[in-house]
């Protein structure tokens, strides 16, 4: 079944507006990486993942782990849109005892499969989940989203080797390759390229796409389902801050809340009600 691209674009644009509003309401958060990841997340939750919003703990659901947990606003926006919890919750982000913590907390938010945010750990936990699925002969897949600078952490490669060792073809890593990190341009800090060659050398089936192109996202995910004893990675080239002109490719929008004026400008660009 081919996805309705136009509809996905409308949803993603609406979720971008939600991200801006949420981070502004919280007074802090990570806009840049949330905006680079939101097209991938939109596709995953509306076209790919077998999940049941009315039964978040459905045992046979596909698992999703946001290893780059600082982009929680994007994940929360898509979970609310998918019906895991009411939209009103979004405006409690980062509040005391909010079900929406600054980084994903599996014990507080319906629809979260793992507590993540300390970079590298979510991916490693995902390897454990994929191993558990194999052990139990369960059909579900485990999807993990990584940031490009997350490839700088050693734990990630420990986990990558383990996944290959055990032939985890039920594990799909998606790298939101927005090429910026907290302190600047990834390439100038500790370069993670050549990314594809690294993963191939680690025995992973590797694909590279434009992470803002729904057709390419669809194709890459569809091709990543083969039961061939190899874990899969999709390197999705993205633009940090995508969709808001003054945030695109600007390092300082890694974190920080937009002020009222910036919110107005961003929402206007994103076609929303101001």
């Amino acid at each position: 079944m081919s996805p309705d691209i136009q509809k996905l674009e409308i949803v993603a644009r609406r979720l971008r507006r939600q991200i801006i509003r949420m981070v502004a309401a919280a007074g802090s958060g990570h806009c840049g990486g949330s905006l680079s990841a939101i097209d991938l997340l939109t596709y995953l939750y509306f076209c790919e993942l077998r999940v049941r919003p009315e039964e978040p703990q459905w045992p046979d659901r596909d698992r999703f782990l946001l290893s780059k947990g600082h982009c929680a606003p994007a994940l929360y926006a898509v979970l609310a849109e998918r019906g895991f919890f009411p939209e009103q919750k979004l405006w409690t982000l980062r509040g005391i005892n909010s079900s929406l913590q600054g980084h994903p907390d599996m014990r507080k938010t319906p629809g979260l499969d793992m507590t993540t945010g300390s970079l590298g750990q979510g991916f490693s936990c995902g390897v454990g989940m994929a191993l558990a699925a194999k052990m139990d002969h369960k059909p579900y897949r485990v999807y993990v989203m990584l940031g490009d600078s997350e490839l700088q952490t050693g734990l990630l490669w420990e986990a990558a080797m383990m996944a290959r060792q055990h032939g985890l073809d039920n594990l799909i890593a998606i790298i939101d390759n927005n090429k910026l990190q907290s302190d600047g341009v990834t390439e100038t800090i500790v370069d993670v390229e050549p990314i594809a060659e690294k993963w191939r050398a680690f025995g992973w089936e590797t694909r590279r796409i434009n992470g803002h192109d729904f057709r390419q996202i669809q194709a890459a995910l569809a091709e990543s389902r083969s039961a061939n004893q190899r874990p899969k990675v999709i390197i999705a080239d993205t633009v940090k801050g995508k969709g808001v002109s003054f945030m695109e490719g600007v390092v300082t929008w890694h974190s920080g809340a937009p002020n009222a004026e910036q919110v107005q400008a961003a929402l206007k660009e994103l076609g929303g009600d101001v």
Binding site: R107, T115, S124, C125, G128, A132
Partner: protein
């Protein structure tokens, strides 16, 4: 009757016992299964055993992934690696989400004498005790080690347990009652109380025997649970004796001694002497007992601390009499 064997051997044996009754048990190791004795489980249940290689951080997160998938995951390596190399993984991926991961670390304290400082875990109790949601255990003998492993398996949620390397004498009858968070009284006495954990419980009993010969009656309490620590037993010891000695094969900073002093300083100030490694790194040694004596962590050191508390000047060397006890 359980024979005198290393507690780690009992751990491996108990894992097999658990695995037979419960298909949810999985076991992970970081390339030291023959040493931690998870190899016993591997032989019995190869499909439920995973050697993660020299990758302790990854092992802990994989265990978390298993636990989040409904398994009871035991993860083992040496105490120094479990508590420090993988510390943040334990904190954030296991303790914070309250996942059903049981970290059982061997070679705790100076028990791995020969390998020296790099492989001696002297900070693990302090580190693990400071992590919320984590139950921290340090059993003393083969009988209570088995009971401790069964107890953490049965109890939902994360736990850390440390075990030594050398054979441990049997201190208990099989029917001893073991409850997480409740000290076991091994000997009665109202002159002073020795609160000991792990291997030092045996040393405490030797010291108490010698002290009794000199008319000093020392209570000996086996503090097998470092967290949640048994406040009632600590307060009772403070109120009914002249002072407390803590004894641990661990740095005197932050472990059992720290836990006891925290309780007392807030609720019932009392005199405390902490016996343990005095905030220094140890050294290699050919023999564990030699190392304990060298760093003043053995029965003689406990006895010396007792004299300080009781005001005696005697320098009597404690005898190495049998320490076997049944619980009162």
């Amino acid at each position: 009757m359980t024979e005198a064997v290393p507690n780690r051997v009992i751990y491996g044996r108990t894992l097999v016992e658990l695995g037979q009754g419960n298909p949810r048990i999985v076991v992970l190791d970081a390339d030291v299964p023959k040493s931690t004795n998870t190899s016993q489980f591997r032989e019995a249940f190869p499909d439920r055993f995973f050697n993660c290689g020299v990758a302790e951080q990854n092992m802990i997160c994989i265990a978390a992934g298993f636990a989040a998938s409904g398994k009871i995951a035991f993860a083992s390596t040496f105490a120094v690696f479990a508590s420090m190399r993988a510390c943040e993984q334990v904190r954030t991926s296991v303790a914070y989400p309250r996942l059903n991961v049981k970290i059982v670390a061997t070679n705790a304290g100076l028990d791995n004498a020969g390998d020296g400082v790099t492989h001696q875990g002297i900070e693990d109790l302090a580190i693990m005790r400071s992590i919320p949601n984590l139950t921290v255990l340090s059993p003393s003998d083969p009988v209570t080690t088995r009971k401790a492993v069964l107890a953490i398996a049965q109890r939902e949620g994360p736990a850390y347990m440390r075990l030594g390397r050398n054979p441990s004498p049997v201190l208990y009858e099989e029917n001893v009652e073991f409850e997480i968070g409740k000290m076991i009284p091994l000997r009665n006495g109202d002159d002073l109380a020795i609160i000991a954990t792990g291997n030092m419980v045996h040393q405490a009993l030797i010291a108490a025997d010698s002290l009794a010969g000199q008319g000093i009656q020392a209570r000996v309490l086996d503090c097998h649970t470092i967290k949640p620590v048994d406040k009632a037993a600590i307060l009772d010891a403070a109120r009914t004796t002249r002072g407390i000695i803590t004894a641990e094969d661990h740095n005197v900073v932050g472990g059992l001694g720290g836990a006891v002093c925290e309780v007392l300083s807030e609720l019932c100030p009392a005199r405390v002497k902490r016996v343990g490694l005095k905030d220094c790194f140890a050294t290699s040694a050919r023999d564990y007992r030699e190392l304990l004596a060298h760093f003043q962590m053995d029965a003689a050191a406990i006895q010396a601390a007792a004299y300080e508390l009781c005001g005696s000047k005697s320098a009597h060397i404690p005898s190495r009499s049998s320490a076997r006890r049944s619980t009162p």
